[in-house]
């Protein structure tokens, strides 16, 4: 993940110049920007859905939205933060729609369904169950906690960059990360053999 602090002024100028061309409808510039950022958007979206096709849909929709909203991008603005905000909003919208459609039967039943063998039972089946449970618990985190956790652990973004992308204070990011970890431990601790 590129850090804002590590980006050169030249890089910013390059992106601004490309965006200026995109505003004029230049498709080559649009493809250039897509090429540079598509993987980062994909990782963010994949962490939300864990579904390759769904993540690719988000990538496509993000860059189409970028093209439509290019005129709103202001020169000197943090481009990656701006782009990630578009992607994150699309993810959350799609995620909420999907969540409302499905039954939340797993809520209690799934947690109890895990073998209560404790930490000594480290067979492959149990690990697969644990991973599945991990996914489900992440699914049930509040949207902001989930977003911060995903950006931190899957996109390897530091707190500062997450704060800039989400437009919130660094302290809020820390607090959301802490709450996400606490909730994960609460549900997963007994199955991981940790103190939680």
């Amino acid at each position: 993940m590129e850090r804002r602090g590590g980006q050169t002024v030249g890089f910013d100028r390059e992106i601004s110049a490309l965006m200026a061309r995109v505003k004029e409808g230049d498709k080559d510039a649009f493809q250039d920007i897509t090429r540079r950022y598509q993987r980062k958007v994909f990782v963010l979206a994949y962490a939300f859905f864990r579904d390759r096709e769904e993540a690719l849909d988000i990538v496509q929709e993000t860059f189409l939205r970028l093209y439509e909203k290019a005129s709103l991008f202001r020169e000197g603005e943090d481009f990656q933060a701006w782009l990630f905000r578009i992607a994150r909003n699309l993810c959350i919208d799609a995620y909420r729609r999907a969540r409302h459609r499905r039954v939340d039967h797993v809520e209690d039943a799934r947690l109890e369904a895990l073998p209560a063998d404790g930490p000594d039972c480290e067979d492959a089946e149990r690990r697969a169950d644990l991973r599945a449970l991990f996914r489900e618990v992440i699914d049930r985190l509040a949207a902001k906690q989930r977003t911060v956790f995903v950006m931190k652990h899957y996109n390897d973004m530091p707190y500062q960059e997450i704060a800039r992308t989400l437009g919130i204070a660094v302290g809020t990011v820390k607090s959301l990360h802490f709450k996400a970890v606490r909730n994960l431990r609460k549900h997963l601790g007994p199955h991981m053999g940790t103190a939680s």
Partner: protein, 264 residues
Amino acid sequence: MSACKVRRDEWIAFMSHELETGREKALSDHLGTCRSCRDEVEDLRALFEEADALGEEARAALASVDWDAIPARIAARLPERAVSTPGFGARFRASVWSPRLRPALAGLLAGIILGGAAAFFALRKPSGRGAASDFFASGEFLDRVELELARRQTLDYLDKGQYLILDVLETPAGSGRPGPDAAASREARDLIASKKYLNPQLDKFGMAKAKELCDQIELLVFELTQLSPEVGAAEVDRIRGMVSDRQLLMKIRLVKKELERSEV
């Protein structure tokens, strides 16, 4: 957890390499001497390793995509969508919220708040138990009134939720009337609205059990509002499954009994 004074969130920041070098070193040294903090860090390490494993999945999926083809494929869809020029509203919002104007807006907001507060204190009637007010209630009394109101509103919510659930359960499977009728849908929307007002009261008075049950009812009610009139019997059966799996009716009866017994 630990009896020592290191906060849990510091260990999360430590594991995430988000601490300043000096603090990171201090905590690292502390680990050598504190058993409970070592356990804490081990727990976090296990959790983060699981998260990393899921990150690996993302990277594998990333590798499976033909990224060279994607930009052209997306660009091919562009002619269908024109670049939008922002409307007046968007331009206005963009200019008003621009970073340059934010300090001025913050100052304006602070001025409004301070001015409002000054006007309030200057213009309010003098209050005192003896002078203008002929009614006085102690804080304890007011708390009891609020608690009683919360109790009654919760009972009312549970009553309505129970009726709605019974209504859904009584709908015969596969009948010509698969979804909730218009009255039930209206009732469901009313329940969603009333839950918003109930939440802070449940939190304030620590009515955790009632809150958990009300949350479950809210989820169910929300599902009901999502049912279209053309919905199939399978969808209604699914809702029934939610009710029976969570033993909602029994829980409602038990919590109602408890609330009725605890009249203030």
